[in-house]
Symmetry: C2
Subunit: 204 residues, 2 copies
């Protein structure tokens, strides 16, 4: 192990903006409009950067988008890790997890939709970078749900004949579908009832 050569102190004018905050703002714009419908001026307005600064910091629109997508994914997975924490009752965790979807699907949140679903539909299959991210996200999501379901099964909380791995795939489809239909019919009560009825089929 040769020691890391000490990072040379940055010379010249230090950057005056918070890069993480800029990515987050960009994420919100992409989230609201989608990739193609987001024009550069939208991103400049949101990040409060000039064209030059934005390109210096992020390369190009596509790279910035990837960063935004990564952030979105990280947030989603972190939330799942909290909701489905192994130290909680697995069924409570699943309920909390689904309640989150209900909340995110209601009213203005619902109309905004889900950046991952929108990106999957808009870019998957024509953009390898996006493909990898979307694919691995769904895999990770499914794994977490499957894990929670196995714990529920071990605790005898699953309905007869429910197999965690296939039930996890079903659940992932279900929640992603919720986000799709939520784009046009975002009523909290119905979403909640639908989620409850769904869970009733799997939980004892």
């Amino acid at each position: 192990m040769n020691r890391q050569t000490p990072a040379p102190l940055p010379r010249g004018r230090p950057r005056s903006f918070d890069m993480d905050a800029a990515v987050e703002r960009a994420m919100n714009v992409f989230w609201s409009h989608g990739y193609h419908a987001t024009a550069l001026p939208d991103l400049l307005r949101a990040t409060k950067l000039s064209r030059g600064s934005l390109y210096a910091a992020f390369g190009d629109k596509h790279s910035l988008f990837l960063l935004a997508l990564d952030r979105y994914i990280a947030i989603a997975l972190t939330r799942m890790d909290i909701e489905l924490d192994p130290r909680r009752e697995p069924v409570d965790g699943l309920r909390a997890y689904l309640a989150g979807y209900v909340e995110r699907n209601s009213g203005a949140n619902g109309r905004r939709g889900c950046l991952l679903v929108a990106t999957a539909m808009e870019l998957a299959g024509r953009d390898a970078d996006v493909d990898r991210r979307i694919g691995s996200f769904f895999k990770a999501m499914e794994a977490r749900v499957a894990d929670a379901l196995s714990r529920a099964k071990a605790a005898g909380k699953l309905a007869d004949g429910v197999e965690p791995s296939s039930a996890a795939r079903i659940l992932v489809c279900f929640v992603e579908g919720l986000r799709v239909v939520g784009k046009t019919a975002p009523t909290r009560i119905i979403s909640q009832a639908t989620v409850d009825a769904f869970l009733d089929r799997f939980i004892r």
Copy 2:
């Protein structure tokens, strides 16, 4: 009731192209690329029309898109009416219906995705014409599924405690979610197994 004045015979050069076929070709382009990513030259190539002719026939890109979307919806509903025909065994119908989704989600078909889902994510909430169409489509779809499920229930084929209307909402979410995750992981075997496992939760 005054009699309709007889339609005046068309004068001049008759249109030399099949308008319906043009709409269908345009539909395929929008389907593959989405609304924003479809450029006019793509539509011209597909319809084999010149710019002028296309604008004369359809007005503008947006109107043509709406026509394409209507066509897509009509095809989908017609298919459902066949698969879920009241004269068939309702459970067979539901199986056929879901099998259709498995097929459409596999391989190249899967990667192409679903025009309705893509449009919902891309345009819903910012385009009133689209909103209406998507909303009424989901409603129509749900109604057909609910109807099939009630008939199944009447025949004693539903699992205990399954209520047709909420089960229909669940099913709609599930199949739309299938189309989303199918964009990245389009393997026929898994889709089929997932669908089977899903149905097992609702059918006796």
